[in-house]
């Protein structure tokens, strides 16, 4: 049968690679013969061969003595894929489509194995295939494929490089944990693989960032879906531990990625993962020196970094949908009708379950609220840059009043999520942190909330406190803002009733 023939060819390939180094002439000849004899000259042939090679690799893994080298066939297959990508001339099909086809077949094989075997599925050979593929690619692609003698081929490969990683990223997106629970731990190991993650982070022009955010979102969504307040399955706790280490490594190596993508990442991060949230929000651009936030003499207005707006990779305006016009129009010319459109437009059509700290459901569109708050902050910083600081550091400015009206017209739930969204912008010293610090301070001390004042103050204190009583790291902006509330002249917040009502909190605040 065709399957048997393909398996024979692949077996010969595996044997060959064990006998000669991979730059031996016989390796090139073997591949040329494969193509000339028509093994891979049609789409059908490619699909059948990929199928056969993968199934052989997986069964060879399963049948090998676990103490021996169980990945010989798998590694040989990875090497073959890379050789096929660099040695062939692509006339009928682009290199990218060729690679996509192979990956699609691999995806189908995994789907069948995972679907059939259920708990009996073993992710390791598939992990090894992708891992070795990434290693082999790294080897040939070093210094912009300088090892390629043929200049035409070399420039084609340089162009293809982004597609290579993009296709792997798409493969990972489609095999995410929610869809392939039996592949979860291999998946997490792959998205953080040393030959994948740093590459994606540093592709020119941030070309890998969008897909990376997507993959991290897939991870966070999985964690969010299966983290319940009273019961977190052990396996999910292990997932969390892995995610924590990965984010810490990213914060160390590429804090700019977290800085520019905090909005999207936080949209999918469960509220209960407070420390992880803080890790993302505490990321500081490399080489930035940050003054001690606990310095009692610190005045945020004097901090030099506060002049500059942080770079934003994903513009939240895309998430405003129907409210984009009302919000932008309000910012230009505020009106009560626009205000009403916004404050009523933030609700979901129905309740949704949530695992918040202190609440189980949510009826507001938190993602929309995050988008509105962040967008207003971005616009405010732009306004300051175009005109003056007094245009926005002004409780009569439309930027301020938009947010204030959300609090004023909203119920406790709305207020809570708006304040949370504001607190998410209190990060390292920058123009957003600076402005939102101003907003929150003024919200706290404003006299025109009427009977809502105590609740608003309580929500603000709660929001800031929950971010700084956790183990480190703490966001610079959150610490500074809270310190500003404590330092303010007038009645100490320890005299506030809602503080006195909870002795533990009173103690913490007195200590602070």
């Amino acid at each position: 049968t065709d399957q048997e023939k393909m398996s024979l060819v692949f077996t010969e390939w595996v044997k060959l690679l064990q006998r000669v180094p991979d730059d031996d002439i016989s390796v090139v000849v073997f591949i040329r013969q494969m193509i000339e004899k028509g093994v891979l000259s049609s789409t059908e042939g490619m699909v059948k061969f990929t199928n056969a090679a993968l199934e052989l690799s997986v069964s060879s893994f399963k049948e090998s003595d676990p103490t021996s080298d169980v990945f010989i066939a798998t590694d040989a297959f990875s090497k073959l894929i890379v050789k096929l990508l660099i040695l062939q001339e692509f006339t009928d099909m682009t290199r990218a489509d060729y690679f996509k086809l192979m990956i699609s077949v691999i995806t189908m094989v995994i789907s069948e194995d995972h679907g059939r075997m259920r708990e009996g599925f073993n992710e390791r050979p598939y992990f090894r295939l992708i891992s070795s593929l990434l290693c082999e690619w790294e080897c040939v692609s070093g210094h912009n494929f300088i090892k390629m003698g043929d200049q035409q081929c070399r420039s084609e490969l340089v162009e293809f490089n982004f597609d290579f990683y993009n296709i792997i990223a798409s493969f990972l997106h489609s095999t995410q944990p929610i869809a392939f629970p039996g592949f979860s731990f291999a998946w997490i190991t792959l998205i953080s693989h040393r030959m994948f993650l740093p590459k994606m982070l540093r592709l020119p022009e941030k070309a890998g960032w969008a897909k990376l955010v997507l993959l991290f979102t897939d991870l966070l969504k999985f964690m969010a879906q299966y983290t319940k307040k009273n019961d977190v399955p052990d396996a999910v706790s292990v997932v969390y531990k892995g995610a924590l280490r990965i984010f810490l490594a990213v914060a160390n190596d590429a804090p700019g990625f977290l800085v520019e993508n905090h909005y999207e990442l936080l949209n999918n991060l469960p509220h209960v993962y407070m420390q992880l949230r803080n890790i993302i929000l505490s990321a500081i651009p490399k080489n930035l020196v940050v003054p001690n936030p606990y310095d009692p003499n610190l005045v945020i207005d004097d901090v030099i970094g506060c002049h500059d707006a942080p770079t934003v990779f994903y513009d939240p305006v895309q998430d405003l949908h129907a409210l984009k016009k009302p919000v932008d129009n309000y910012l230009r010319i505020p009106s009560t009708s626009l205000q009403r459109a916004i404050t009523t437009g933030i609700f979901k059509p129905e309740y949704q379950k949530d695992n918040g700290i202190g609440y189980d459901t949510v009826s507001v569109d938190t993602k929309l609220i995050n988008a509105i708050v962040f967008h207003v902050g971005i616009e405010a910083a732009l306004e300051k840059h175009k005109t003056t600081a007094t245009a926005i550091f002004n409780t009569k400015s439309s930027y301020y009043t938009l947010l204030a009206s959300l609090l004023n017209d909203g119920n406790s739930e709305v207020r809570f999520h708006v304040v949370q969204a504001i607190a998410n912008q209190l990060r390292y010293p920058n123009a957003h942190t600076h402005w939102f610090n101003y907003v929150l301070k003024n919200f706290f001390f404003a006299e025109d909330w009427g009977s809502n004042k105590a609740e608003i103050q309580e929500i603000i204190v709660r929001t800031l406190l929950e971010r700084i009583v956790t183990n480190k790291p703490h966001c610079w902006g959150a610490v500074v803002t809270f310190a500003d509330l404590l330092k303010a002249p007038g009645a100490s917040i320890t005299t506030f009733q809602f503080i006195k009502d909870v002795p533990e909190v009173e103690l913490i605040i007195k200590h602070l």
Partner: protein, 48 residues
């Protein structure tokens, strides 16, 4: 409340002070300490 991250950072090879800070993702062994018992070969380049 989270956990004290010092041992976690240590396991990643990230020093707690700012000295000697270098990239760790390029030699990242595994997301979990338990599966990180051997070092992995990082990317490298050997001229012809």
């Amino acid at each position: 409340l989270g956990i004290d991250l010092t041992p976690v950072l240590h396991s990643l090879g990230i020093p707690s002070n700012q000295q000697g800070r270098h990239r760790v993702l390029e030699t990242f062994q595994s997301p979990w300490v338990e599966t990180s018992r051997s070092e992995v070969e990082p990317r490298f380049f050997v001229p012809e």
